[in-house]
């Protein structure tokens, strides 16, 4: 049966006391970039070689994002700033403007715009060429913790916030085009379930949303309807915004898969079409929250808060 099989571990000696938050595949899928305190480590999957790109951040990073051409890495730091690092030449821009830790980043597929989300409740759009701020969207009332832009359609940005709202913005104007709520009786004073992750499907028609209670929902955002729910028993309000991604098996042996990490260090894999649980990985990450899941080609990369990072390969063995 097809499943994810462990290929390799990435970090041999994670620093203790440093929270590890993000590991992402390059667009080509040959390198994993990993936030390591104020550095970015680049791990080459084939050769196993590691190189270091030092940032100028003063505090650890929450998120990183590859430019679509794989030449640059943008990093979001707790020092309120964003750095765009060129892998060969070093820092291109240091973007200053947020007034609280920066939580999430997303490039448009053309690589000309970089969007950032912050604890300061705003989303900002930056011009990558000049490093200037183009516009700010202030439409959330709690920290914005996740944003995404469809690969094939840079005209919209989705955002997820601790205020429990998922919003869709027009990239060009910054106007809010649509709001999706976790449940129909949404009211901020009644205590809401914060949103922790948003991710568009490959074709940009659907939006996968994870809330802090660990439930994943796939939205048809144009219609404003939930079309799939992935749930693990009863879960309470959690602390960490754990990772998730959509995996598209290159051999098309199954429908795309929803891969989600938990606070207990487990990874769950569902078939997105029939919602069947295909795999439950629980022997790694030693009960440390799985902060980041990244899928590319036939690989999946998981990273937990304690710095354990694994590359998994989709096999039919």
């Amino acid at each position: 049966m097809a499943r994810f099989k462990l290929k390799t571990g990435v970090l041999d000696n994670p620093k203790s006391g440093v929270p590890y938050t993000c590991a992402k595949f390059s667009p080509q899928g040959d390198v994993v970039a990993l936030c390591d305190d104020t550095d970015v480590l680049l791990y080459n999957i084939e050769s196993g070689k590691v190189s270091i790109v030092s940032t100028t951040h003063g505090e650890p990073m929450s998120d990183l994002c590859w430019s679509p051409d794989s030449k640059c890495i943008a990093t979001a730091s707790d020092d309120f700033t964003i750095s765009i690092m060129h892998i060969e030449y070093g820092e291109l821009h240091h973007l200053v403007g947020h007034t609280a830790p920066v939580t999430a980043l997303a490039y448009t597929s053309k690589g000309n715009l970089l969007c950032s989300a912050s604890m300061d409740e705003s989303i900002k759009v930056w011009d990558v060429l000049t490093g200037t701020l183009l516009r700010t969207m202030s439409a959330h009332s709690e920290p914005v913790v996740s944003i995404d832009i469809p690969h094939c359609d840079p005209s919209i940005i989705s955002s997820g916030s601790y205020d429990g709202l998922i919003r869709i913005f027009d990239t060009a104007t910054g106007h809010c085009l649509k709001t999706l709520t976790y449940d129909k009786d949404w009211q901020s004073e009644n205590g809401v379930v914060p949103i922790s992750q948003v991710k568009f499907s490959f074709n940009g028609r659907y939006l996968l949303v994870k809330s802090l209670d660990g439930v994943l929902k796939l939205w048809d955002f144009v219609q404003g309807r939930v079309i799939r729910t992935f749930k693990l028993g009863d879960s309470n309000q959690l602390r960490y915004s754990c990772g998730m991604d959509i995996f598209y098996p290159p051999d098309e042996s199954t429908a795309p898969l929803v891969v989600s990490g938990t606070e207990q260090g487990d990874i769950y894999v569902w078939n997105c079409q029939n919602k069947q649980l295909l795999q439950h990985i629980q022997d790694k990450h030693r009960a440390s929250p799985v902060m980041s899941i990244s899928c590319r080609n036939s690989y999946m990369c998981s990273l937990s808060l304690n710095g354990e990072c694994y590359i998994w390969e989709w096999t039919n063995e």
């Binding site: 462990l6 390799t8 571990g9 990435v10 970090l11 041999d12 000696n13 104020t38 550095d39 791990y43 050769s47 196993g48 070689k49 590691v50 190189s51 270091i52 790109v53 030092s54 003063g58 060969e88 030449y89 070093g90 694994y310």
Partner: protein, 347 residues
């Protein structure tokens, strides 16, 4: 008048509590309970740090304090004159993140100890172990004046040398593709492209001079001959010249031969356009000269640009070299975890 901050109640001149007759202070109009307070330099009232929403961390950083009412011009110096309203002034804080003491004179730190700690932190991120923070701080402090301190960083990142770690040097810097690519590009411009354009420029110049000679020989003589007859006619003929455009800028024959073969009504001779007022080839020499000149200028900026890129790439590799050296050193001292999957090779 400025507006009061949202959290600040309107001004009240009340000095004593109505029921207890105790002295009251601050915007909250409560008696002194031993809480941290600051005296206003404008109205001499006292204010709680907590009421003013100022962190008690800042207690040593106050230089001159003015309460919200003085800053708004309700009380204090601002209420009497229409001039500038007073503002609270803070002392500069020690550069060390966790320290809230003011800087000592001519320093960015509260004490030498914190200076060393801060520089040590910076060094840990950029430097290998050869330099230590104490000596560098000493150097900076002893340098005394700004110009010397500025010189300290001028050399940039200390260059990586092969002696420090030959394997790492070769794999990281010696065999770097980008650096090689940039240097090759520099070579092509300097050795191939530039000489080629200069050659073309020379050919154009020679041809233009030849053409000028042809034109003056052809028409100056005519003019001279004509001028004896009429001064007026000379003026009309003065600007007369052939277009002279030739697709190959080589000189076909001597000036004398060409003028000998030339006839007024022939349109082309030796592939040279001989029309008098040729709108088709108008400004051909100027256009060509501009194109070559522009080419030379772009090569000049290109070589400057490449030199700069080489420098930036070298700096980046140097810093990576030092970083990796540091990591290797750290790894050797770090305790090994039992559950090892596969050692991530540090080169």
């Amino acid at each position: 008048m400025n507006e009061l901050p949202e959290w600040c109640p309107p001004y009240s001149s009340q000095k004593r509590d109505i029921s207890t007759n105790e002295e009251v202070y601050c915007i909250c109009k409560k008696p002194d309970g031993g809480e941290l307070m600051v005296g206003c330099d404008g109205c001499d009232d006292w204010f709680h740090f907590s009421c003013l929403k100022i962190s008690s961390n800042y207690k040593e950083l106050v230089f001159s304090f003015f309460c919200p009412y003085c800053q708004a011009g309700i009380t204090g110096p601002g209420s009497l004159s229409s001039g500038n309203l007073p503002k609270t002034i803070w002392k500069r804080k020690c550069r060390l993140h966790s320290c809230y003491k003011p800087c000592s004179e001519n320093s960015k730190y509260c004490s030498e100890q914190h200076a060393e700690e801060y520089i040590g932190g910076v060094l840990r991120r950029v430097e290998s172990k050869e330099r230590n923070s104490v000596s560098l701080t000493r150097q900076m402090l002893e340098a005394g004046d700004l110009s010397k301190i500025q010189l300290l960083g001028k050399q940039g990142i200390p260059p990586a040398t092969r002696e420090q770690n030959s394997d790492l040097y070769d794999s990281l810097i010696g065999r770097d593709k980008k650096l090689k690519e940039l240097r090759e590009e520099q070579e092509i411009i300097a050795k191939k492209e530039m000489p080629r354009i200069e050659q073309e420029m020379k050919a154009l110049k020679e041809y233009s001079e030849w053409l000028k000679a042809v034109n003056s020989r052809l028409f100056d003589s005519v003019e001279e001959a004509v001028s004896r007859k009429s001064q007026k006619k000379k003026k009309a003929l003065k600007r007369k010249s052939i277009c002279g455009y030739r697709s190959q800028l080589t000189i076909p024959c001597s000036v004398e031969d060409f003028s000998a073969q030339f006839q007024e009504d022939v349109e082309e001779l030796h592939d040279i356009c001989c029309r008098m007022r040729c709108s088709r080839h108008q400004d051909w020499a100027g256009t060509m000269q501009d194109a070559l000149q522009f080419q030379i200028e772009s090569f000049e900026t290109s070589s400057q640009r490449l030199a700069l890129l080489v420098k930036i790439r070298e700096d980046q590799l140097n810093s990576q070299f030092h970083e990796q050296m540091q990591r290797t050193a750290d790894l050797q001292h770090a305790p090994r975890t039992e559950e090892r999957v596969q050692v991530a090779q540090l080169t």
